[in-house]
């Protein structure tokens, strides 16, 4: 099992699994009330220079109310595991990101991310290490499993490998070449869910992306939830719990927390506002104007929702309510 090749990318967040075990041991195992506002959660757990991660798929289930608060509090020099659309975009536009483990930052059908491009091309992002989507998710999975690395057959033979911190080793059983990726431990994870109880037991309906893995790879985990439900509702369907309470440090109630993104089974995405961002983000000035309008000038998520307006939110609900479920 010799090391045959190694990517030249930096390992910008080396994992210490025994230290992580110790940290996890010290997390409270009692059911304690973890409800707090976005402001408290971000203030307590996100710090300048933190390595953070957001879990979502494109514009779906993005933790926007949390990310907006990170911007409001101006947490800077962030390092990020980047698989994002809206939420990574606004953090980049606010100039808060310094290093990236990147898989994809773009706007899906709307094309490239201009803030990402600007931050990369002007050198404000100091390190950008490349990965595939699955490679990054397997890095979370390694941590979730409590092991230092996982093997995979992605990234072999490519520049994605060359600019990563993956390695190629000999399979000790079959003798072939196999890639391995190192465990990745986030300082803080931000995840938006359909429902959670006050202790942090959280459930998601439908597809779950890489939520299970990222939640388990986070030293601190902030959950925002469309609604906080009684614990009995969780306990009635324990097979739907994707994040058990002991992983969680903060539970933030954030209805429409993914807006202008969507939350399946709940509300559709706000195409007009997304298009507004696509246009605004093309320039530095436009981006700042958007952030002023939707983030800096609104003191919290409640103010944000007031600004968007009930009528518009209900329309988004109406576009999806009850469908499929």
């Amino acid at each position: 099992m010799n090391i045959l090749d190694a990517g030249q990318g930096d390992l910008i967040q080396p994992a210490d699994l025994d230290a992580f075990r110790k940290h996890n041991r010290e997390k409270p195992k009692a059911m304690i009330d973890k409800r707090m506002t976005e402001a408290e959660a971000v203030n307590r757990f996100v710090f300048d220079g933190a390595y953070i991660g957001t879990e979502l798929y494109g514009t779906v289930r993005c933790p926007m109310s949390l990310v907006n608060e990170v911007i409001r509090q101006g947490k800077t020099d962030l390092r990020m595991a980047g698989q994002g659309v809206l939420e990574t975009d606004v953090l980049l536009a606010a100039h808060l990101v310094k290093e990236l483990d990147l898989t994809y930052i773009g706007l899906e059908v709307y094309g490239i991310s201009h803030p990402f491009r600007r931050e990369m091309e002007n050198g404000r992002i100091e390190k950008c290490v490349e990965w595939s989507n699955a490679a990054l998710a397997w890095r979370f999975k390694a941590t979730a499993m409590g092991v230092p690395f996982l093997p995979m057959r992605s990234m072999l033979g490519t520049d994605t490998f060359k600019y990563s911190a993956a390695k190629v080793v000999t399979d000790p059983y079959g003798g072939g070449r196999v890639a391995i990726v190192p465990a990745l431990i986030l300082d803080v994870g931000l995840i938006h869910v359909h429902r959670a109880d006050m202790y942090g037991n959280a459930q998601i309906d439908g597809i779950s992306g890489f939520c299970a893995e990222m939640a388990r790879a986070s030293r601190r985990l902030i959950i925002s939830t469309e609604k906080i439900v009684p614990s009995e509702e969780i306990r009635a369907k324990p097979d739907r719990t994707i994040i058990p309470y002991y992983l969680v440090d903060a539970v933030v109630e954030a209805p429409f927390g993914s807006h202008p993104g969507e939350m399946y089974y709940t509300y559709a995405r706000d195409e007009d506002q997304i298009k507004e961002w696509v246009e605004a983000s093309k320039t530095e000035q436009g981006s700042q104007a958007y952030l002023n309008k939707y983030v800096y000038s609104l003191e919290d998520h409640a103010a944000y929702l007031d600004f968007i307006g009930q009528e518009r939110l209900e329309k988004l609900e109406g576009m999806i309510a009850g469908r499929d479920r």
Binding site: G58, W138, T160, R177, G206, I207, G209
Partner: protein, 255 residues
């Protein structure tokens, strides 16, 4: 091209759709592949199994998904799981076709969606691999969808984001990638291309309607294998266009 009867997007969608055989598993990404998958289900492939990266498997594509993780990607699906379940399903050989895009492609089907210029000092920074590298590594056959010009069809891509045949015959296997996988087709605004069996180099199969072989050659930045008989891809049929416009994308989000 039959001026006005269909636009470029419609041509690409209809061409890609025909490359999705019934009763196969197809990894579907954002944009054209989604429309093509939906069109295929309504045309010739009712049992096409659409697989979306964030967990949707076997959805009925009644309404067009916009985002790769949106609700429509698992509408009446047989399974709604997560990203690793999907990629691991591909890694153990269950996914027949994968659709890909990119800013550059080379003669061996290697794709670049990461950077133009140097990685450290990019001329233009692009989104990065996303699931592209995973799809290109694990699906049995990958199909690239591209606009066709010399900026995109280049002798050497600036960055191999997603593996094609790498440096040629045997290179994928030597790198450790699963055997018998690799690029299968390239669907472009000018042609449908494949790969020559022995050399693994890109080969012209069909021109798009009204396009000449010379036009394809002129717009390709490397030497194409040109077989003796190059066919013409039939234009979108009336039926295809009707279903595409009236059912698949009736709100005209893409076309």
């Amino acid at each position: 091209m039959s001026e006005g009867r269909y636009n470029t997007s419609e041509l690409l969608i209809c061409t890609a759709s025909r490359l999705m055989p019934d009763k196969t598993t197809v990894f579907v990404g954002t944009g054209i592949p989604m429309l093509a998958g939906s069109l295929a289900q309504k045309m010739h492939a009712p049992d096409l199994v659409a697989i979306f990266e964030f967990g949707g498997t076997g959805a009925i594509l009644e309404e067009l998904p916009i985002a790769v993780g949106g609700q429509r990607t698992f509408h009446r699906a047989v399974s709604a799981s997560g990203l690793l379940e999907i990629i691991e399903t591909a890694q153990r050989g269950f996914v027949d076709y994968g659709f890909l895009g990119g800013a550059q492609i080379d003669p061996y089907g290697n794709l670049n969606s990461t950077v133009i210029g140097d990685h450290a000092k990019p001329k233009a920074r692009l989104p990065g691999s996303g699931g592209g590298n995973d799809v290109g590594s694990h699906c049995w056959r990958t199909i690239a969808i591209m606009r066709h010009d010399t900026r995109r069809f280049v002798e050497q891509v600036d960055f191999i984001t997603t593996p094609g045949y790498l440096t040629g015959p045997g290179a994928r296997e030597a790198a450790g990638l699963p055997v018998d996988t690799g690029p299968y087709r390239v669907v472009t605004t000018l042609a449908v291309l494949g790969y020559e069996e022995e050399s693994k180099r890109m080969m012209l199969l069909e021109t798009q309607p009204g396009v000449s072989v010379d036009e394809v050659v002129e717009n390709t930045g490397f030497e194409l294998v040109i077989p003796d008989d190059v066919g013409e891809n039939p234009p979108p049929s009336d039926e295809e266009l009707r279903i595409l416009r009236d059912e698949v994308d009736r709100n005209r989000l893409y076309i």
